[in-house]
């Protein structure tokens, strides 16, 4: 038995130390924070996305939680053990935990929650190898696996595995449209639902029966739904809002950095892992040739994009794995700007320039407004290597998604999330089994490489962290060479908090994380 009790104890000690070093948290008060869109509903077990995740992680507890250091910490699971054959994971639940209706949280609820997520959540890879969840006693759940599954740890944290009550959601109704996803929510987390008004606010109130001693500190959280970035900035500056996560507009971030009442932090979000890239159609047209893709990469000045368009609010991402991930490999070819080399590569490959100085035309797609400057930058930039770019805007997201998912594109700007473990959010982009027409953020590049498939299978089926790092390093090296996509930078997610907010969230999940330790000074 590989004991992870030690990890749990160490993590607890770390938490305790942090708490002592920081200011003594105060209890009470109402935190007014922003979320950017109205969630479809509040049950993360059957709905992904951070709109649901931010309130959802307050309403529902998961088995584990992660801080900014990628170390799993106890939450509803006070400890966990992985068997020697790595095919079963035993979860020991904290005693005395209750749902918001006062009924106890048992291993039956854990089994029910895993089954519900497995059957209904959009990310099928999270619990795909789970064959059964055994419940020998109310405080023990044993997760049985068909193969070792390292992604399970992250899949049991934050918004990916909400523990939902079987006695509520197991009533035979479809959990995706269950009426208690939006009202009368019976949760397991630090805060309970008072009111959810679409496009207005979500009001949460401290749950007195919360299983973590002395938490949460806040009496109430008001999540105001403010779609307009400028409005959020002004409200944060004026103190009307005290916290906002997932802020990514560079101009607003830089402006708020100058405000002495605000803390602007880019810590966290690595598990969300939003990476922006230029995706290539690797099967049709000129971009099917890897030389063309590499030449384009040499012609695109990533540093210019970061400095001029992102105003320095982010950093380079050299691969499709987020730079904050332990599996990120920074040693791959960065394709620093080299126009001469790019031109020579295209000349050598036989793409001669015509009388107008152009070799061939390409279309560049983008699906949302913030991507427009990058798409427009490519037109003059790729002209320098004789590529005649037509920038194609889409009226809205579904229009763009239709084009890209039906593989009707040459190059497109894209933004894809890692979602914790690479198995969940990274493999889907490169797996040759995941070339699915009509499905956005599948392998829309239609990239296929047997070794890459094999490396993903190997890295996805072992808990040996070092072996995984090795597999993912080779994986990233091959991808950097064959370049089905050219990674640019992570979305510059920032957490903006008023200085009166203590313990502002800094987890790898950003503000999609229980805010039970947050307090008002």
């Amino acid at each position: 038995m590989k004991k992870h009790l030690l990890a749990a104890t160490l993590a607890l000690t770390t938490v305790a130390t942090t708490t002592v070093v920081a200011d003594e948290p105060k209890n009470g008060g109402t935190l007014v924070m922003a979320i950017q869109t109205t969630p479809r509903h509040l049950n993360p077990a059957v709905q992904s996305g951070t709109a649901t995740g931010q309130p959802g992680t307050q309403l529902f507890a998961s088995l584990l939680r992660y801080d900014e250091g990628w170390e799993p910490q106890p939450y509803l699971a006070k400890s966990w053990e992985i068997s020697d054959d790595e095919l079963s994971v035993t979860i020991n639940l904290v005693e005395g935990a209750t749902f918001h209706d006062g009924k106890p949280i048992t291993s039956e609820d854990v089994a029910f929650s895993i089954d519900t997520v497995k059957a209904n959540h959009p990310f099928k890879s999270m619990f795909a190898p789970v064959t059964a969840v055994e419940t020998p006693d109310p405080n023990t759940a044993i997760i049985k696996l068909s193969e070792p599954h390292p992604a399970l740890m992250l899949a049991m944290s934050s918004q990916l595995l909400s523990i939902i009550p079987k006695h509520v959601y197991g009533d035979g109704q479809d959990p995706k449209t269950h009426p208690q996803n939006s009202e009368n929510v019976v949760g397991s987390g630090p805060f309970k639902l008072v009111e959810f008004k679409r496009d207005q606010h979500i009001i949460l109130e401290k749950y007195d029966g919360y299983f973590m001693e002395g938490l949460p500190h806040l009496d109430k959280i008001v999540m105001r739904i403010v779609k307009d970035g400028a409005a959020r900035t002004i409200a944060l500056e004026s103190g009307e809002l005290q916290l906002s996560g997932f802020e990514q507009e560079p101009r607003d971030i830089n402006r708020m950095k100058k405000k002495d009442t605000l803390n602007v932090s880019n810590v966290g979000y690595a598990a969300i892992g939003p990476v922006n890239w230029l995706a290539f159609n690797t099967q049709n047209g000129k971009t099917a040739d890897p030389v063309v893709r590499q030449a384009i990469a040499y012609a695109v000045d990533r540093n210019f994009l970061i400095k001029a368009i992102m105003l320095g609010a982010t950093e380079a991402a050299l691969t499709g794995i987020h730079p904050g991930s332990p599996f990120y490999d920074a040693t791959v070819e960065p394709y620093d700007l080299d126009l001469d080399k790019a031109n020579k590569m295209l000349d050598d490959a036989g793409y001669a320039k015509g009388a107008d100085g152009m070799r061939f035309p390409l279309t560049v797609d983008f699906g949302w407004a913030s991507a427009k400057p990058v798409a427009e930058y490519l037109k003059p930039q790729l002209k320098k290597i004789g590529i005649d770019v037509t920038v194609r805007a889409s009226a809205d997201f579904p229009t763009w998604a239709k084009r890209v998912s039906n593989h009707e594109f040459d190059i497109t700007f894209d933004n894809v999330f890692n979602w914790g473990d690479p198995v969940i959010g990274v493999h889907r982009t490169y797996n040759s089994q995941n070339i699915k027409k009509g499905v956005i953020w599948s392998n829309t590049q239609q990239y296929s490489n047997a070794r890459v498939d094999e490396l993903m299978a190997l890295a996805g089926a072992t808990n040996d962290q070092e072996a995984r790092k090795k597999y993912y390093a080779e994986f990233q090296q091959i991808l950097a060479n064959e370049l089905p996509l050219y990674p640019l930078y992570p979305s510059p997610y920032h957490t903006i908090s008023n200085k009166m907010v203590g313990n502002a969230p800094d987890s790898v999940w950003g503000t999609s994380h229980p805010l039970d330790r947050v307090y008002l000074k």
């Binding site: 779609k227 579904p398 229009t399």
Partner: protein
Amino acid sequence: MSFTQTLAKRIGYGLLLLIGVLILNFTLISIAPGDVADSIAGDMGGADVTVIEEIRERYGLNQPFHIQLWRYVSGVARLDLGFSYFYNTPVTSLILEKLPATLLLVFSSQILAIVLGTLLGVLAAKKPNGIVSLLVTFLSLFGFAAPVFWSGILLIIAFVSIFPLFPVGGMTDVTVEGGWFIQLLDLLHHLFLPMITLASIYLALYSRLARASMLEVLGADYIRTARAKGLPQRAVLYKHALKNALGPLVTVAGLQFSAVMSGAVVVETVFSWPGLGTLALQSILARDTPTIMGILFFSSFVVIVVNILTDITLRLIDPRIKTG
């Protein structure tokens, strides 16, 4: 043709028009590439192929167009506006939930625009070449030219950021505690900036219209007579001229109803005002066909009803309008 026959005919035309609007809108939305499964997947950060197929299956999105259209139109005939894919709620309850906020914004801004616009128009008409008239003309042109999203943001910068007098958005502040009077004050506090913004464009329209209409009336013989018999300026202006000049203003105000609703979409978005406009924008972006259709159906219905009422009213008050 009797009054009842005319009315029946008007209602018949209205129903036909409504069906036409439904079919046209449904067709236009269906022509656009992509569907709500894409936007739900986008909202969730991606989804497995089985999930996407299940969404398309569940909402009948992979059925032929005419079957989808028939299902929708027959649903509406049974007064069922459908189920919002995106919000997971019946469309009727969504619309009813958002309607009060929009009505409050639309009516308060219209009343403000009409009252203030008329006053300014009258002031301007008093001395057509005076400084007040020039100022009103300038303000009108400014109001017409400035897009509401821009003037809204300017107001936010001025009265929220520089002089923090008003909240940045929303309809209420849930942290405000107190009785109904305090809640009402809080509501008015939130209403002020969006109301001014939406009113600005119509203020321009009404003041121009009132000015022109007043100038026309002031040139009429009976005004000269009124002046000749020694009536004071105030009585001439407000008692004789204004009453007659109001006609076109009222007609235009009625016709503007649909335009105000569309202006509300933008203003609501800028000020996070939780009304039908915000809902319309969100559903268009999410390609939530039942909700978009529901809002379009609802607004067409209102416009058609208002038009029928206008027809009837005009017929009743003006005997010169013949039947038929």
